[in-house]
Symmetry: C2
DNA sequence: ATCTAAATGCAACAAAGTTGCAATAACTAA
DNA sequence: TTAGTTATTGCAACTTTGTTGCATTTAGAT
C-alpha cells in the first residue's frame, strides 16, 4: 500500500488500532520530501509542533507500520517515506571526501533482488546496496 | 594487503608513518573475532587496557588505513577486520522476527560491483547489500 | 641519551536516544 | 453530546555514544 498523503496515513493508523493525532500528522508532514532526511533534521523541522521524544516514538511506529524506511548514507542513517521503495538506495560512498554517487542501474539490481528473494520465499520491503571506497579524485591523489 | 595479526598491523602502521603503541596493539587484539562487534563491546573488552577515547581514535585510524570495516546489522553498526572483505555482507533481514539469511551469490554481486565501479573509476574497499522484508515464515503468518 | 612530535588519558562537553510519569487528547459507547 | 477509558503527549531526568582541549607520556629519530 502506498502511503504518500495524510489520508493514507490516517487509514493505516486506524486499520492498525492507533489513534490519529496532531503530532502524528505533523511527524508525517515533515517526512514529505524528495530526499531522505536525518533524524536531527526532522526534529528540527517539527520542533515547534512536536516534542523530540514524540518524534522518536512516532518515527519508530511509522517504521513498524512500514510507512518509513531507514537507510544508511555515509555511516549515518536517514529516514524517508517507504513509498519511495527501491529508489535511491544504491550508492558509491567515498571514504575520503564523503562524496556519494548514485547508481542508476535499477534494473540489474531489481532482477537480482527478485531472483534471491524468490529463492527464499522472502517478501522484500526495502533494500540498500552501498559500496564504500575511493572516488576517482581521491584514488588519484592517493597515488602521489 | 591482509591484516590479520599483530605483525601485519605493525607493518601497516610504520609504512604509513604512525607509531606502534601498546594501545594500538590492544585495540587490534580485541578486534580479532569471527564476528563483527559493536563499538560498545570493543570498548568493554579493552576497558582496563585502553581508554574509551583512545579506542575511538584508534578505530577511526584503522578505518582510514583499511584495517577495519564498519557494517550495519539491524540498524546498528559493527566493526570487523577488513581482512574479511567481501564476505558475509549480503543478507536478507526479516523485519518481523529478525532472522538474517546470508546470500551466497558472491559472483553475481562481484560482477555487478566491478561494472559499476569501473564506470565511475571508483576504487571499492567494502560493500554491503541488505534486503529488508519478511521471511517465508513471517510472510505466511501475515496472510491470516 | 636526548629531543620532538605523536599518542594517550582524563575531564568536560555535546549529541543522540530512552524512561517514568503526570497532564492531555482521541476514540468508545452510553 | 457527554462522560469514561486508554493511548498519546510533553517534560524532566537520565543513559549512551561520540567529541574536544589539554597536560602528560611515550615512540622513534638523531
Ligand atoms: Mn533501488
Ligand atoms: Mn560480499
Ligand atoms: Zn573522494
Ligand atoms: Zn521472519
Amino acid at each position: 500500500m502506498k502511503v504518500d498523503n495524510i489520508q493514507s496515513l490516517k487509514n493505516i493508523l486506524s486499520e492498525n488500532g492507533y489513534k490519529i493525532t496532531k503530532a502524528r500528522e505533523d511527524t508525517f508532514s515533515v517526512l514529505l520530501s524528495p530526499e531522505p532526511q536525518s533524524m536531527a533534521a526532522l526534529i528540527d523541522k517539527a520542533h515547534d509542533k512536536v516534542d523530540r521524544v514524540t518524534m522518536y516514538r512516532n518515527i519508530d511506529l511509522f517504521e513498524k507500520l512500514g510507512i518509513v524506511n531507514r537507510i544508511y548514507v555515509g555511516w549515518k542513517y536517514k529516514l524517508e517515506l517507504s513509498d519511495s521503495f527501491m529508489e535511491h538506495h544504491h550508492h558509491l560512498s567515498c571514504l575520503s571526501c564523503g562524496k556519494v554517487i548514485d547508481i542508476e542501474d535499477e534494473q540489474h539490481i531489481n532482477e537480482f533482488i527478485k531472483s534471491v528473494t524468490d529463492k527464499f520465499n522472502f517478501t522484500p520491503r526495502h533494500h540498500q546496496f552501498e559500496i564504500d571506497g575511493f572516488c576517482n579524485v581521491c584514488s588519484e591523489s592517493k597515488k602521489s
